[in-house]
C-alpha cells in the first residue's frame, strides 16, 4: 500500500509519531556539545544537562558525580521514553518496537555468559546489562554450561529462541564460541528484522531496509577485520555475514578472503556509499573506522526523519539517543580523567 500510509497511518501511530518527533527535538545539538566540551567538572556537565531533557533525571543526584551515574540516568530517560511508546503502541508498531531491543538482548546474553565464564558475580554483571535488553530469567543464564543448556533453560522463553536454532552446538562455551554465537544471533536477528520490515511494506520497508543494510554491512566489515589473524576459516567467516545489504552477495565473497585491513578497504571502496567513509582513513588504520561508521549512521538516521508515516523514526530515534548517550559517556570520561584534548575523538554530533 505504498503511498497510502497518509490515509491510515495516523489512526494508530500518529500520536506516537508526534511523540517521537517531539523527543527528537530534545536531542542535544551541536551548540550543546560545544558547551559540554568546555565543561571543567562533572558537576558542570550535570548543570548543563539540567537544562535539557535529562534534567529531571539528574537533579536528585548528590554532588560528587560519577560517569556511570550520568550514563545510567541518561539511559533511564531513554528507557522510560521507550516504555511509554511501547505502552501506547498497537500492532504492528509494538512488534517493531520490540524488535529494536533484541540487539540489546543479544548483547546482554553474551555479556552474562562471558562474565560467568570468567567467574564474575552475577549481580555485578546484571548491573552492566543494558536495561532495554533485560528479560525475566536473564539471571539464570549463569546456570547454563553449554549452548544447548543455554537454549533449553533460558532462551527458549525469550524472543531470541528462533535465532538460536542456528547456532546450537553442544560445544562448551569459550570466548571464541561466544563471539561466534553473538554474531550468528545478530545475523539471524538482522535478517528477521529485515524480513519483518519488508512485510510491513511502504515507506517503513524502504527506510528500514536502508538502515538495516547499513547495519549489516558494518557488521560484515567489523567481522572481517576482527577475524583477521584468528583461526576462523573463510567459510565460517562468510557464514556470519547477513544475507542482505549492499555487500550481499559479491562483497561478502571478497570480504571472506581478506587477509589484512587494506584488502578490506579495497573491497569496500568499490561501493560508492562506503567510499567516503574509507577515504577519510589513512591506510592501515582501523581506529577511526568506528567513528566514521557512526557518523555515517547518524547521517542516515537523521534522514529517516525527513519522511512521514513510517516506523523508521522510532528506530532512528532510539539509535540517535543511544549515540547521544555514548557521546555523553565519552565527554564525561574525558572530563573526569582530564583528557579534554581527546574529547573530539569519539563524539559524533547529531545535528
Amino acid at each position: 500500500m505504498y503511498g497510502f500510509e497518509a490515509l491510515t497511518f495516523n489512526v494508530h501511530a500518529g500520536y506516537l509519531e508526534a511523540i517521537v518527533r517531539g523527543h527528537r527535538a530534545g536531542l542535544l545539538t551541536a551548540a550543546d556539545y560545544n558547551n559540554l566540551c568546555q565543561c571543567e567538572t562533572l558537576d558542570d556537565i550535570k548543570m548543563h544537562l539540567s537544562a535539557t531533557e535529562y534534567g529531571p533525571y539528574l537533579q536528585n543526584e548528590p554532588s560528587p558525580l560519577h560517569t556511570t551515574t550520568i550514563v545510567e540516568k541518561c539511559t533511564l530517560k531513554l528507557v522510560e521514553d521507550y516504555k511509554h511508546m511501547l505502552c501506547q503502541a498497537t500492532e504492528p508498531l509494538s512488534t517493531f518496537l520490540e524488535y529494536i531491543t533484541y540487539g540489546h538482548m543479544i548483547d546482554n546474553v553474551v555479556l552474562i555468559v562471558t562474565g560467568t565464564l570468567h567467574e564474575r558475580d552475577v549481580q555485578e554483571l546484571l548491573e552492566k546489562c543494558h536495561p532495554l535488553g533485560m528479560f525475566d530469567s536473564i539471571a539464570t543464564l549463569a546456570v547454563a554450561q553449554n549452548m544447548r543448556e543455554l537454549y533449553r533453560l533460558v532462551l527458549v522463553d525469550t524472543p531470541l529462541a528462533p535465532y538460536f536454532s542456528e547456532c546450537i552446538t553442544s560445544e562448551d562455551l569459550d570466548d571464541m564460541n561466544i563471539e561466534i554465537m553473538r554474531n550468528t544471533l545478530y545475523k539471524a536477528y538482522l535478517e528477521d528484522f529485515y524480513r519483518f520490515c519488508q512485510k510491513l511494506g511502504g515507506a517503513t520497508a524502504e527506510i528500514m531496509s536502508d538502515l538495516l543494510s547499513f547495519e549489516a554491512d558494518r557488521r560484515a566489515v567489523n567481522i572481517s577485520i576482527n577475524s583477521i589473524g584468528t583461526e576462523l576459516t573463510r567459510d565460517d567467516r562468510k557464514k556470519l555475514y547477513s544475507n542482505f545489504g549492499l555487500l550481499h552477495p559479491y562483497g561478502h565473497e571478497e570480504l571472506a578472503v581478506c587477509e589484512d585491513i587494506d584488502q578490506v578497504r579495497g573491497v569496500m571502496e568499490k561501493y560508492p556509499p562506503y567510499q567516503s567513509i574509507f577515504s577519510k582513513l589513512s591506510y592501515g588504520e582501523s581506529q577511526m573506522l568506528d567513528k566514521a561508521f557512526y557518523e555515517e549512521e547518524v547521517k542516515r538516521l537523521c534522514l529517516a526523519f525527513e519522511q512521514q508515516f513510517h516506523y523508521g523514526v522510532f528506530f532512528a530515534y532510539m539509535r540517535l539517543r543511544e549515540q547521544e548517550i555514548r557521546n555523553l559517556m565519552w565527554i564525561s570520561e574525558c572530563v573526569a580523567q582530564n583528557q579534554k584534548s581527546r574529547v573530539h575523538d569519539s563524539v559524533v554530533f547529531i545535528f
Binding site: N35, Q38, C39, E40, D43, D44, M47, H48, S50, A51, Q59, N60, E61, P62, S63, V122, D136, S137, A139, T140, L141, A142, V143, R152, L153, V154
Partner: protein, 814 residues
C-alpha cells in the same frame, strides 16, 4: 484633559532604562533588596555565555545542591507520613553558608539512620521469612514423610551479614545429619516473591529435567521491601531433589531469582524450638526497629519545622545569584554593571533600597545609579489591583499593549460584563451567578493560599469579572423581565389588558393598551402573546446595533487619543477623521433612524430605507420618510462615505513618502559618513535605527488597513447581532426547560414525576444554562472586545514588564 489626575490604567507606566554600577561587596545585598522591592527588570548582559561560564556559577551550583538536599528531606518527610508544619518559625535568619553546613549534617544523619533502619529491616525480614518458612514448610515435611533431610550447610551464608541476631545458638541446636543415605532425597526450603513463583518452578523443572518435587504455599503475612518500602506478597516453597550436582544448580537458580532459602529441621520438636527462638528475636528486633523509626521521625520533624523557610530561602538565594550572573563584571573597577527597566515612580524606592544596601554592607563606595537611553521600546507595566487584574488579563490574552498605548481594559471593566449580560439577561440566573461569585469572594483569602485545580483556578482568578457579570445580568434580566424565563410584575401593572373578561382572545387577537407603558423593561404581558417573538427580536436586534455602533465609535475615538498622545497629526487627519465619518455616515445614520423610529413610533421600514439609500438615493422615500429633509441628508451622507474611503487610503502613504524624502534631501553624503562612524562606535545592531523607507510596502499596508476598515464596518456591525442571537437563544432555552420540563412534570399529580421533573429542571439550569451558556456568552463577549472593539485602535505588540521579584518565585521553578 491634562489637568485630570493621573489614572494608572489609562496608559502603562512610564519606564526608564537605568544602569547600576554596584561595588562587589554590596552586590549580593543590593540585588536581594531589589528582589524584595520587585520593581526592576534586569537585562541579561551575558546572554551569549553558557551557564557555567557565568560569574556566579559556583553559588548557583551550591544552591542547586542545597535544594536537592531539601527535596530529599521533603521526600523523606512525606514518606514518613509527617506533615511539614506551617507554623511561623521563630528561628533567626541563618547565613547561607551556615545553612549549607546544617543541611549537610542533617543529610548525613538521615542517610545513616536510613541505612541503619534498612539493615535492621533486612534482618527483621529475614527472620520473619524464616518464621513463615518454618510454619509452612513444616507442614509439607510432615505430610511428605520422614525421609527428607534438610540442607544444613546453607544457613551460614544466610546469617553471615547479620549483626543483630546471634545465629550461633540457632546453629548449635541443629543437628548435622550428614547425608542421610536412605534414599538420597534432600530438600531446600525457602521463600520467593509471589510474582516469580511460576517462572521459578518452570525453570527448576527444566533444569532438573523433571526430577524434583515442588511444593508451595502462600505466606500469610506480607513482607516489606526495604528499598521501595512496599509490601510484597511471598510464597513459601520446598523443593525435593536428589544429588549433589542438582543442589548446586538449584542454588544458582535460587540466587538468580532472588529467592532466599532457610533450613527447616524435620524434627517437629526442633522446629518448635527454633520457631520459638525466632519469634522472640523477632519481637526484640521489632522493638529496636520501632525505636529507630521514632528517632528518625523526631529528626525529620525537627527538620520539618524549618523546611518551608529553608526552601524559600534557598530559592531566593538561587534567584539572586541567577540575577547576579546577568550583570557584567568589570574586573579592573571591582564592580558589577547592571542594566534594566524600572517604572519612573519607583525611582525613589529603588534608590532608597540601593542606599540601604550600601549602608548595610558597610561599603565604602555607593552604588551608582543613572538613567540611560535605550533603543528598544520599554516594557509595558500596568499597576493593577485584585479587581482590575482579571480584566487586564483578558486584554493581555489578546496581546500586551504597546508601551504607553491607551489601555482598553479601562473600558473593558464595564463593557465586558455588560455585553455578557445582554446575552445572558435573566435575573434568576444572574442571582445564581452572583451567589457563586460572592462565595468565591467571601472565601478569597482562604482560596488564595491553597493550590486549586485548573478550573477552580480560572473561576477564582475571574471572581470579580463574575461578580460584575452577574450584577449586569440581573440588570439586563430586569429589563428583559425574565426570571428563569418567567415574567413578573415588579414595576407596577401591565399596560395591556384583555378585551373582555373571559380573556379568550388574549393569545389570538391580542390585548388592548389601556394605560401608560410599563415602568421599567419589557411589559410582562408580551409573554406568551402572539407577537412576543417579533417584538423581542426587533427590540434586541436594534439594541444590538446601537450598542455595537456605540462601542465601535468608542474604539475609533480611542485611536484619536492614541494619535494625539504620540503626537501624530497625520493619523488624526488621514485615519481618524475619515474613519469616524465613514462609520457614522452609514451605521451612525442607521442608529439615528432606529432612535427616531422608537421615539416617534413610525411604521417606516428601515431595511428599505438603508437599501434604497444605496440603490437609488435620489428617489422619493414615500411612506418610509421619518423626518423632514431625510433625502438630502442621505445623499450628503452617502457622498461623505464615498469620499472617506479614498481619504483614508491615499494621502497617508504619499505624505509619509514626502516627509521621508524631505528629511534626507541633500544629506546623502552626510549619512554615509555618520553611518560608518556609527558602526565603529556602536557595533550593537539593536541600537542602530533602521531608516529604510519602502513606499510600496507602506502603501500596501495602508491599503489593507483601509479595506479592512471599510469591510469591517459592515461585518463588525453585523457581528454585534450576536448579542441578539445569543440572548434569544438563552431565553428560548430557558423557556423550553421551564415549560416543557418543569411545568409538564408539575401537571401530573404524582410526587415522583414532579421530583424527577424538578431534578431535571435543576440539572438543566445548572449545567446547560448556568455553565454552558455562561461560557458561550463569555466567549462571544470576549470576541466582541478583542476583534470588533480593539481592532479599531489597539496594536497590542508590546511586551510585559517582568521585574526581578521574590514574590513571583514559585515552587515549580525548582
Amino acid at each position: 484633559m491634562d489637568n485630570l489626575p493621573p489614572m494608572d490604567l489609562m496608559r502603562s507606566e512610564k519606564m526608564s532604562f537605568v544602569q547600576l554600577i554596584i561595588p562587589v561587596e554590596s552586590a549580593h545585598r543590593a540585588v536581594s533588596y531589589l528582589g524584595e522591592l520587585g520593581l526592576l527588570q534586569f537585562r541579561d548582559l551575558n546572554a551569549d555565555k553558557s551557564p557555567f561560564q557565568r560569574m556566579f556559577v559556583n553559588q548557583v551550583k551550591r544552591c542547586a545542591e542545597m535544594s536537592r538536599k531539601l527535596r530529599f528531606f521533603k521526600d523523606q518527610i512525606s514518606k514518613a507520613g509527617l506533615l511539614s508544619s506551617v507554623r511561623p518559625v521563630t528561628q533567626p535568619d541563618v547565613e547561607l553558608e551556615e545553612l549549607e553546613i546544617q543541611l549537610a549534617e542533617h543529610e548525613n544523619e538521615l542517610i545513616e539512620m536510613n541505612a541503619n533502619s534498612e539493615k535492621l529491616r533486612q534482618s527483621y525480614n529475614e527472620l520473619l521469612e524464616f518464621k513463615i518458612v518454618l510454619q509452612k514448610a513444616g507442614s509439607f515435611l510432615v505430610s511428605s514423610g520422614t525421609h527428607a533431610v534438610s540442607e544444613r550447610e546453607l544457613d551460614e551464608n544466610v546469617y553471615s551479614n547479620d549483626d543483630y541476631v546471634d545465629t550461633a545458638s540457632l546453629l548449635e541446636q541443629e543437628m548435622r545429619p550428614g547425608i542421610s543415605g536412605q534414599s538420597g532425597l534432600r530438600f531446600i526450603s525457602g521463600i520467593i516473591s509471589k510474582s516469580k513463583v511460576l517462572r521459578f518452578e518452570r525453570m527448576l523443572f527444566r533444569a532438573m529435567r523433571g526430577n524434583m518435587l515442588f511444593n508451595q504455599a502462600p505466606a500469610d503475612e506480607e513482607i516489606m521491601d526495604p528499598i521501595s518500602s512496599e509490601m510484597v506478597e511471598k510464597t513459601v516453597f520446598v523443593v525435593f531433589f536428589s544429588g549433589e550436582q542438582a543442589k548446586s544448580k538449584i542454588l544458582k537458580i535460587c540466587e538468580a531469582f532472588g529467592a532466599s532459602f532457610y533450613p527447616v529441621p524435620e524434627d517437629i520438636t526442633k522446629q518448635r524450638q527454633i520457631t520459638r527462638e525466632v519469634s522472640s528475636r523477632l519481637d526484640e528486633l521489632e522493638v529496636t526497629l520501632d525505636a529507630g523509626i521514632r528517632h528518625r521521625n523526631k529528626a525529620l520533624a525537627s527538620i520539618g519545622v524549618h523546611l518551608v523557610k529553608w526552601i524559600s530561602m534557598v530559592r531566593r538565594e538561587k534567584a539572586v545569584y541567577d540575577t547576579l550572573s546577568m550583570l557584567n563584571f568589570d574586573v579592573t573597577k571591582k564592580c558589577l554593571v547592571g542594566e534594566g527597566w524600572c517604572p519612573i515612580f519607583a525611582k525613589a524606592q529603588l534608590q532608597a533600597a540601593l542606599q540601604r544596601a550600601t549602608f548595610d554592607s558597610n561599603s565604602q563606595v555607593g552604588i551608582i545609579y543613572h538613567v540611560m537611553d535605550a533603543a528598544e521600546s520599554p516594557p509595558t507595566y500596568f499597576r493593577t489591583n485584585k479587581f482590575t487584574n482579571a480584566f487586564q488579563e483578558i486584554v493581555d490574552a489578546y496581546g500586551v499593549a504597546r508601551y504607553q498605548e491607551s489601555n482598553p481594559s479601562v473600558y473593558t471593566v464595564i463593557t465586558f460584563p455588560f455585553l455578557f449580560a445582554v446575552m445572558f439577561g435573566d435575573w434568576g440566573h444572574g442571582i445564581c451567578l452572583l451567589l457563586g461569585a460572592l462565595v468565591l469572594i467571601a472565601r478569597e483569602s482562604k482560596l488564595g493560599t491553597q493550590k486549586l485545580g485548573s478550573f477552580m483556578e480560572m473561576l477564582y482568578g475571574g471572581r470579580y469579572v463574575l461578580l460584575l457579570m452577574s450584577l449586569f445580568s440581573i440588570y439586563c434580566g430586569l429589563i428583559y423581565n425574565e426570571f428563569f424565563s418567567v415574567p413578573y410584575h415588579i414595576f407596577g401593572l401591565s399596560a395591556y389588558k384583555c378585551r373582555d373578561t373571559t380573556c379568550s382572545e388574549a393569545k389570538t387577537t391580542g390585548l388592548v393598551k389601556y394605560q401608560d407603558p410599563y415602568a421599567f423593561g419589557v411589559d410582562p404581558s408580551w409573554r406568551g402573546s402572539r407577537s412576543e417573538l417579533p417584538f423581542l427580536n426587533s427590540l434586541k436586534m436594534k439594541m444590538s446595533i446601537l450598542l455595537g455602533v456605540a462601542q465601535m465609535n468608542m474604539g475609533i475615538i480611542l485611536s484619536y487619543f492614541n494619535a494625539r498622545f504620540f503626537g501624530s497629526s497625520l493619523d488624526i487627519r488621514y485615519q481618524f477623521v475619515p474613519q469616524i465619518i465613514f462609520l457614522n455616515s452609514l451605521f451612525g445614520y442607521l442608529s439615528l433612524l432606529i432612535i427616531i423610529k422608537w421615539c416617534t413610533g413610525s411604521q417606516a421600514d428601515l431595511y428599505h430605507v438603508m437599501i434604497y439609500m444605496f440603490l437609488s438615493p435620489t428617489e422619493d422615500l414615500g411612506e418610509n420618510q421619518l423626518f423632514w429633509g431625510q433625502r438630502p441628508l442621505q445623499i450628503i451622507l452617502l457622498l461623505l462615505a464615498m469620499i472617506a474611503v479614498p481619504w483614508m487610503l491615499f494621502p497617508k502613504p504619499f505624505i509619509l513618502k514626502r516627509l521621508h524624502t524631505e528629511r534626507f534631501q541633500g544629506r546623502t553624503y552626510g549619512i554615509l559618513a555618520t553611518s560608518e562612524t556609527d558602526l565603529e562606535v556602536e557595533p550593537d545592531s539593536a541600537r542602530h535605527y533602521d531608516e529604510d523607507f519602502n513606499f510600496s510596502e507602506v502603501f500596501v499596508h495602508q491599503m489593507i488597513h483601509s479595506i479592512e476598515f471599510v469591510l469591517g464596518a459592515v461585518s463588525n456591525t453585523a457581528s454585534y447581532l450576536r448579542l441578539w442571537a445569543l440572548s434569544l437563544a438563552h431565553s428560548e432555552l430557558s423557556t423550553v426547560f421551564y415549560e416543557k420540563v418543569l411545568l409538564l412534570a408539575w401537571g401530573y399529580d404524582n410526587l415522583v414525576i414532579r421530583l424527577v421533573g424538578l431534578a431535571m429542571f435543576a440539572f438543566a439550569t445548572a449545567f446547560i444554562l448556568l455553565m454552558m451558556e455562561t461560557l458561550s456568552a463569555f466567549l462571544h463577549a470576549l470576541r466582541l472586545h478583542w476583534v470588533e472593539f480593539q481592532n479599531k485602535f489597539y496594536h497590542g505588540d508590546g511586551y510585559k514588564f517582568r521585574p526581578f521579584s521574590f514574590a513571583t518565585l514559585t515552587e515549580d521553578e525548582d
